[in-house]
Structures are given as C-alpha cells and as structure tokens.
Amino acid sequence: MIVIKLIPHAVSWAVIALFLVRGFHAGRLMVIISGSGGFALGALGALVLFRLLPPESAFGIIRGGLGVSLLLLWGVAVMAAYRPFWKRTTYFEGTGFTVMCACLAGCMAGAVSASRLSGSGTSLAPYLALILVGGALASYAGAVEKRIPEWFIVGGPSLAAVVVALLLYGSSLSLRLDLFAPLTMKVMKFAHDFVHQFMESMLIPDHVFIRSNLWKYIGVLFGKEIGFWGALVIWFTPLLLIVYAIQFEPLPSVAHIRQGAERRRLLAVFIHIRRYRLIPALLAVLVLTAAVYRSCVPSVEYWDPKPIVVTATPVGDIFIPRKGDIDLEDGKLHKYLFRQGGKEARFFIIMGPSGKLTVVLDACAICKPDGYGQAEGTVICYYCKTLIPLDTVGRSGGCNPVPLAFSEKDDGVHINAVTLMNEWDNTVQTTTKVKGAGK
C-alpha cells in the first residue's frame, strides 16, 4: 500500500531530477549527486522530525518548507517579470548555486516523499529504501535527459516553476501537507479583513445605507468562494508572471545587421526558441492545476459514520455505552444525533491519542455546521477543510469542534440534553448568521 502511495512521489522526483539536469547545464553528474544527496538529507530529516516531534509539528515544518518554496517561486517570478531592468543576471549562476538549488529541491522532494512513511512506524529500513530509490531515479533521469531533444530548453524561472509545482503536487497527495486548503482559508480571512478595513479607511457607508442588491455583490467578498479564487490567484500568478516574462521578453536588437533577411531570421529564431521555452512553464501550470484538484478532491477516504439517533431519559440524560454495538475506545469518531421538539443536534465522541474520551459538537464556532470526518490522525472540517489534530479535539477555539460538557463513568458517557441543545443552538445561530462567515 505504501509503495503504491509512493509511486506519484517517485515519478515527481524523477521529473524534478530530469528538469534539474536539463536546467543546469554545468555538470550532469554534479546535479545528480547533489540532488540525490539533498533527497537523502530530506528523507532522513523527515525521519528525525517524526521521531522527535509530534506528527502535527513535523508535518507543520515540512509544510512550512513547502510554503517557503512557493514564496521563493514568487520571488523568482517577480524577478523574471522585472528582468528588463536587471543589469546583471550572473548572480544566479555558477557551480555553488547549481549544487545549492539541486540539493534544496532534492531535500524538499525527499522530505515530502518520506512523510508518506510516517504512518509505518519509525523503522529506518523504509527510509533507506526510499533514499536508494531516489538516488536510482535521479541517475535514471540523468540518462533519460540525454535523449531529450536540444530544443527542449529549460530556463531558470521555468525550472523553478516546474520543481515547485511538482513539490506542491506531491504535497497535495497528503492531507496534512496540502498547502492549498489552508491557503484558501487564509485568503478568505484576508479578503474579509481587507474589505472591512478598506471600507473603514475610505469612510464607505455600511450595509445599512447600501442597496441590498449591491451589498449582495460586496457580500461575495466575504464568502468562501473568494478564498478559493484568491488562493488560485496566489497559486498561479507566479507561473503566469513567468509565462509573461518569457512570452514578452524583448526581441534582441538587430539594427546593426545590414541585411533584412538575416535580421528577420535572427528574430524568427528568437521567437521560435521563446515558444519552446514556454513549454516547461505551461507544464508547471498543468501540474499545479492537478495539485489544486487533488486538494479539492482528495483521494483520502474519510471515516464519516452515519449519526446514530439517541434519546434522553425523562430527566434529560443522554447515555452512550462505552462498549455496546459500538466500541467508543476504538480510536474512531462516532457520531450521534439527538432530536427534541422539532430541533436536532449532532455530536461525536472520539478517544484521543492520550486515551481519554472526548465529546464535541459536530460543528465548530466559526463555520457552517457541515460536520467533521476523520482521516490520517486528524478530523477535518468539511466546510473549510481545516485539519484538526486528534490531540486537540476537545479544546475550544478556531475551527475545533465545540467541546461539550459530559461525565464519563465506567459504563459509558452521560450528556445533558439541555446543555447539548443550548450549545448547538448557540453555535449554529452564530455560524449561520452570515453565510460563509468564518476564518
């Protein structure tokens, strides 16, 4: 199973290595060695992280690295767009730079691949096997690169685009490394705050005075969709800048040539090569699109049982037995539904990593109550796709499911029906007041 999971990562790494070898002309062997070295370093680093830190912190560090990669791509893209202003472009050449880039790319690819092994214990063997495979793939990519036609040119910005796109694609395969979903939420929050601050700064009147049909359009800026589209802008803009920089690179000056046909031939050659140079950047666009798709439609199957209807005793006590048809201590999320007077409330019980039972609403304090599913050591909010580590379920705040007071006895869990209904009412009332109100 793990081998199957690793196949896309292996392919990604092989393609990264291929592009590195083609992109850095200086020394195929040097690129392969530094790339493979970086891959090994990344894989071992991930192993150390998973041994030393709680999984969420380890994943957080790797995800941070991926975020930095995206930022670097932004830097490269802006520099590419500004290239006509650069007087010197030799800052980013030379052996040291090549080794550093290959090593960093390998390191991130190694860490992302190795994070897939985090569920298989902390044995060294699978990591060593991964490192060996990584090295073999890099060597194979080096051999394949010789057969690729010369017209397939990979410029610096395009190389960065492909490498980062493939890294992000790799990360989108894992729920806990995925960058797009959290980015969506951050953008949603930013858009909300920005519009609010902008209106305040420009003394623009509030919704009381604005026509309701116009306010509906402004309201779009506060919705979940703005987060998605905004994240798409952040995701794809660097690539579009790189495509722009290549496509609109100024034609070379040919005024010194005194034969029209030769002038035109040089321009045609330049335009021709420029078209080929677009291919890697456009390829990166495709890969990033795939990453977005995987983020929005993850292949992970969530554990999301149908809620079991429960009733309360005349004194308002809801009792869930510890070991009945359902074993509350199996580490899985168990959902329940309680109905009273035409209203209903959902909650779930789960045993956390610490071995304690927790009872929480199937809703959080900020999102619409779409509920939660369980996957890869986390529960996920279906509305905003935020992952909540299992060890923090039961704590309030953010998108965590709202904790519910309960008493745990030997036979099972007791919940007060009034408390449940009040908590549910308060939560749902808050989160459905403004459509999409949230983080």
Partner: protein, 225 residues
Amino acid sequence: MIANIIQTTGLTRSYGDICALKPLDVQVPEGEWLSVMGHSGSGKSTFMNLVGGLDRPSAGSLSVGGEDLLALTEDGLARFRREFIGIIFQQHHLVPYLTAVENVMMAQYFHSVPDEAEARSALERVGLGHRLKNRPGELSGGEQQRVCIARAIINSPKLLLGDEPTGNLDHKSTIMVMELLRELRSEERFTVIMVTHNQEVAAWGDRTIYLDDGVLVRDERANSR
C-alpha cells in the same frame, strides 16, 4: 579562386523506368549566371528542381553552397530552400487575393517573420513602388513577374532559380525583367540558374549548358559564343 556553389557528380534522377537526368557532372562557381537550355523533356526542370532542393536525386552527389543535399533530412531540406533558394516561375504563382506587398510578405513569413517596410522597399527596387497595394489581377504580366522577382530576392538567397521566367512575357517586358535581374545580381551577388528555351534570354547568362534527353551535351561560356 572562386568557390563552386553547385557541384554535382553523377547526378541522376529516374522516375521508374524513365531516366530524366542521366549521370551529370556540373560545377557552378559562386556568383555565376548559368543558363540551362534544351528542348522539352531534356531534363532542365529536373536539374533545377534537384538543385533547388525541390526533388531528391536517385543517385550521385549534389552539393549546393557546401550542403550535401542527399544527407539533409526533410526539415533540413526545407530550411535549405527557405534560406538559400529564391525561385521565379513562368507561371507567377502569386496569391490572387493578396496585394503585391502582401505577396512579398508571405515569402518573408515562410522564411522568418514578415516585415512590411522591407517588402515595400523590395518592390520599390523592382520599380513597383506605385503598385504596392494592387492585386496580381490588376498588374500586367511584366509587373507580376517583377513582383515574383521581389518575392524571390526578399530573403537574400544565395541562389536564384528561374524556370522560364520570361516565357509568358513580350519582348519589351522580357528585356526589362532581364535587366532588372542583372542589376539585382550585381547588387546582391547571388548566383543565377535560368532554365529557358529562348536563346536570347540564355545569352544574358555568363555560361550556358545544353541538355538533351537528360545528358549534358554542350557547355559554353558567354565569351566563347
């Protein structure tokens, strides 16, 4: 010493059982104006097509401008035609719905990128500065042929091939076209290979070769005639 731009050894072209060009050895120095004469079916056009990269020989060797045409791939041959050869046909093969300047620009497009000012200038050089926006149907035969010459020289070819370029022209237009070609050759220094039936047209060349049934039967220099 002037290098040969064309060098053939045992150049042969057969179509099934029919041998259009029998083993032919010809050398053409750079900058020469070579007239090729012969009656219909003598192999003149076959020779021109081979030299222009429009056809491939069945046997022998053919080097044009240092390129071994037999060794070139289809793409290589296309590049060779694009960058090395200019052709003027008896039938003008101008695009009827494009203006004179657009017809010239089309040749630029297939070579590299269009450049209107340069196309205009080329037409001015062949004396058609006042007919830039006219379509072929609005031009006389001589003017059309001059558009063809502008189209042929626009990409600065090393070798200009003419296949009966004056075949459809009256005497006055013929003289005008030939004078124009001579003037352009002196400016641009390209080599000319002119296939013709017409002895008078052939006489404009530095040298004339005569083909008969695919065989070179006579090779005369202008001063020996």
